[in-house]
């Protein structure tokens, strides 16, 4: 039994640690692992099963400008918050849409397209 508990602990710890996301122009962002897992692509990058460099270093480079990466991180945090267990409050989408400056919208679309990747891949 004590073993089990320990394992759970380390698992939770693993879920709770921070990963680094870097932009192409040298900025880096620290987010919770569970937040990064919102993105299918990042999740796969960081997956324990893979031996990707990203998984080992806990660092994911996104080849976009910092302004875009910032919005991506913001979105993931937002989504993690609203889709997290127990959060039954209504989602005010506009609240987030208003935070996206239109000038990054196109780049953000491309980044989103890339990062959403294989969200539902269970294989």
């Amino acid at each position: 039994m004590s073993n089990d508990v320990q394992m759970n602990d380390s698992c939770a710890e693993k879920q709770d640690d921070w990963v680094k996301i870097t932009s192409s122009d040298g900025y880096s962002f620290l987010v919770k692992r569970s937040v990064a897992a919102i993105s299918g692509t990042l999740k796969n990058m960081l997956s324990e099963d893979s031996s990707f460099r990203e998984a080992i270093a806990n660092t994911c480079p996104i080849s976009e400008r910092a302004a875009v990466v910032e919005k991506v991180c913001e979105y993931m945090t937002f989504k993690a918050y609203y889709e997290g267990p127990g959060s039954k409050e209504g989602v005010d989408v506009n609240e987030f849409t208003e935070r996206i400056p239109p000038e990054v919208a196109l780049e953000l679309l491309l980044a989103a397209d890339y990062l959403e990747g294989v969200l539902d891949s269970s294989l």
Binding site: Y75, P102, L106, L109, A112
Partner: protein, 635 residues
């Protein structure tokens, strides 16, 4: 017995597991043995004596099972009512008044010690089963409990019965219980006195959870929060008129944005403007479902210099839009449309008349494209080099003549027609276009026969590198094998072998080809023989011999009888990138291992329906996309 308390079980053999899952356990076995020895022991009132409804006087069955054995099956009809008489599906769960567990307890209390000991001994012998025997067996037998000991069904509620213990008459209710030991029924007082509560609700039998139920199936995902892409699309649409606000984005990214928009079916008449420009030469929309006819007309007017236009899912493209295309985009030389099914025949004709410069014309699924359209295309568009008329419902043999009057084509795709072109038509078409044809798709043409392959394709094709012959049901294994075997040799070389054939065919042609220096058609790069069930090992082997060195894309879907030896030859195709070997039933892991090790460029494999392929032992480190391995497949 202590096992029952918890759910711990030791490892069991496969047989044990199987028996347990089939609900076979010591008690059922014992019962079968017992009943075999004593058939018809209740003969006088039981018309049909199935093996399961005997057993009152069976000695070696534990007392507690005896009751359950007296199945109500046979003795129907004796009483007027149908209840409790057998396994009528709508009554299956009806008579379960008594808790089997409870009953069992009371039985135990009163059963003769000898029987008890016997039961115990038995349980010990088959200790392995004991744990599970509780589950299934109780569940199965629970509707037998309200049955009287002599095997007759419980009398209907409201009738009178004499109590088996106190001999008083009482009224049968639905709570009336069978006497234990049988036969007979107990009145309410005696039932209570025996320690059981007649009103107790039956315990819900513990159900074994099936593996399928355990699986966590996500049937839909609730999306409370829109995806980031969707939000961006919304934002782009909102600011579409304010191009400055969206910032400058290179032309390279335009296609990426178009893809991202289409993936979300987000291309709308509003945001489509993002892609419009007077200077645009090429435009491709991947999903134009939401573009209304007006929006498409706008597309034409805002991009007057387009030369290449490609619209997928352009279901709302109507006749007037097509005419607007021809007037607004005079420079258009390439048009590719997926699903222009609203365009009428007259509009096509008009369009071809207005666009004599068309070089590439590719449409898929246009049920109104008829012979007149084809004729107009042939008459007006003399520069056509690439023609694709896929899934044209009205295509029949009449199309062959106009097709022949076209200038020599590089690409010809007439796949999946409604009716199809017959053998003569194909001979003419290949004769006309064969020398320039690089890509040929004749899928699902019954008229594309061995003869067409052996005479026309072999005789005229010189630069063909892509050949797709899905579902050409007239092709035979020998014919295709012969074709691939001989393709590399001039026609005249064959003369000695089968002169009859060559005398039949045009002698002038043969002479001509033999006079010219012979240049064989290079090996194919793309080959599809999918869903030709006639084709088998010989055709496959010959095709591999012919094209192995350059083959990059190969579909053998549905060549079910191709032998594993022939399939193993695929390892010679070193350039292979894509392989569809679905439903090749002989394909197994050993062959796959050979192929994946030898073909180092392979990156996608489809093995749907290959039940012998389990994906073990391939031992390849590269990333290969493999589709279709059954998790617990076959054998």
């Amino acid at each position: 017995m202590s096992r029952r308390g918890n759910n711990v079980r030791g490892p069991t053999s496969a047989l044990t597991e199987f028996l347990r899952e089939s609900g076979i356990n010591p008690t059922t076995i014992a019962r079968r043995v017992a009943t075999q020895n004593q058939p018809e022991n209740q003969s006088q009132d039981q018309t049909v004596a199935g093996p399961s409804n005997s057993g009152d006087n069976v000695e070696d069955v534990p007392e507690e099972e005896q009751l359950e054995e007296s199945a109500p099956r046979a003795s129907n009809g004796r009483r007027g009512r149908g209840r409790n008489t057998g396994y009528a599906s709508d009554e299956l769960d009806e008579p379960a008044e008594e808790s089997p567990v409870k009953k069992r307890k009371s039985t135990k209390g009163r059963a003769p010690a000898a029987a008890k000991a016997k039961a115990k001994k038995k349980a010990k012998d088959d200790g392995e089963y004991e744990g599970s025997s509780e589950d299934e067996y109780r569940a199965m037998s629970k509707n037998l409990w309200s049955v009287g000991g002599n095997g007759s069904p419980k009398p209907p509620a409201g009738s009178f019965e004499t109590c088996a213990r106190c001999q008083k008459q009482f009224t049968v209710t639905k709570y009336t219980m069978a006497a234990n030991p049988p036969p007979g029924y107990l009145c309410h007082h005696c039932a209570k006195a025996s320690g059981t509560d007649p009103f107790k609700k039956p315990a819900v039998p513990r159900k074994r959870i099936n593996a399928t139920e355990k699986r966590d199936v996500v049937s839909y995902q609730e999306r409370r929060f829109p995806s980031l892409a969707a939000m961006c699309i919304e934002l782009i649409t909102r600011y579409i008129d304010d191009v400055e606000a969206l910032g400058d984005i290179g032309a390279v990214n335009m296609d990426e944005i178009a893809k991202a928009l289409s993936k979300n079916r987000g291309l709308t008449p509003q945001n489509a403007h993002l892609f419009y420009d007077v200077l645009n030469k090429k435009l491709r929309f991947y999903d134009a479902t939401n573009l209304t006819p007006n929006a498409m007309t706008t597309l034409a007017s805002l991009n007057p210099n387009l030369t290449h236009l490609h619209l997928d899912y352009c279901g709302r493209l109507t006749s007037p839009v097509l005419l607007a295309f021809s007037t607004s985009m005079p420079q258009l030389i390439s048009l590719t449309l997926l699903g222009p099914f609203l365009v009428r025949a007259e509009a096509w004709t008009e369009f071809f008349k207005a666009m004599p410069g068309l070089r590439v014309f590719k449409i898929t699924q246009s049920p109104r494209f008829n012979l007149e359209c084809m004729q107009a295309l042939a008459d007006n568009c003399k520069d056509i080099g690439e023609l694709s008329l896929r899934e044209i419902g009205l295509m029949d043999n009449e199309f062959a003549d106009p097709l022949c009057s076209l200038s020599p084509l590089r690409v010809l795709d007439l796949a999946f027609p409604g009716i199809g072109i017959n053998e003569d038509g194909w001979m003419k078409i290949i004769e006309m276009h064969g020398s320039t044809l690089e890509t040929l798709d004749a899928s699902k043409h019954e008229g594309f026969t061995d003869h067409v392959l052996q005479e026309s394709v072999r005789g005229y094709a010189r630069v063909l590198f892509e050949l797709k012959l899905d579902e050409c049901l007239s092709l035979t294994d020998e014919g295709v094998a012969q074709f691939f075997g001989n393709w590399g040799y001039p026609m005249s070389a064959l003369k000695d072998e089968d002169h009859d054939m060559d005398v039949d065919s045009n002698p002038v042609e043969v002479n001509l080809t033999s006079l010219e220096p012979f240049t064989p058609n290079p090996p194919l790069r793309v080959l599809s023989l999918a869903r030709n069930q006639e084709l088998s090992s010989a055709a496959l082997a010959a095709a591999i011999v012919h094209s192995a060195q350059s083959l990059t894309w190969l579909s053998l879907n549905g060549l079910r009888s191709a032998s594993s030896e022939a399939l193993a030859q695929l390892k010679r195709a070193k350039e292979l990138c894509y392989l569809d070997a679905g439903w090749c039933r002989e394909l197994d892991d050993f062959v796959m291992k050979d192929i994946t090790t030898a073909c180092t460029k392979l990156n996608e494999i489809k093995v749907w329906g290959c039940s012998r392929v389990r994906g073990v032992g391939w031992g390849v480190k590269r990333a290969i996309k493999v589709h279709g391995i059954e998790p617990s497949g076959g054998m």
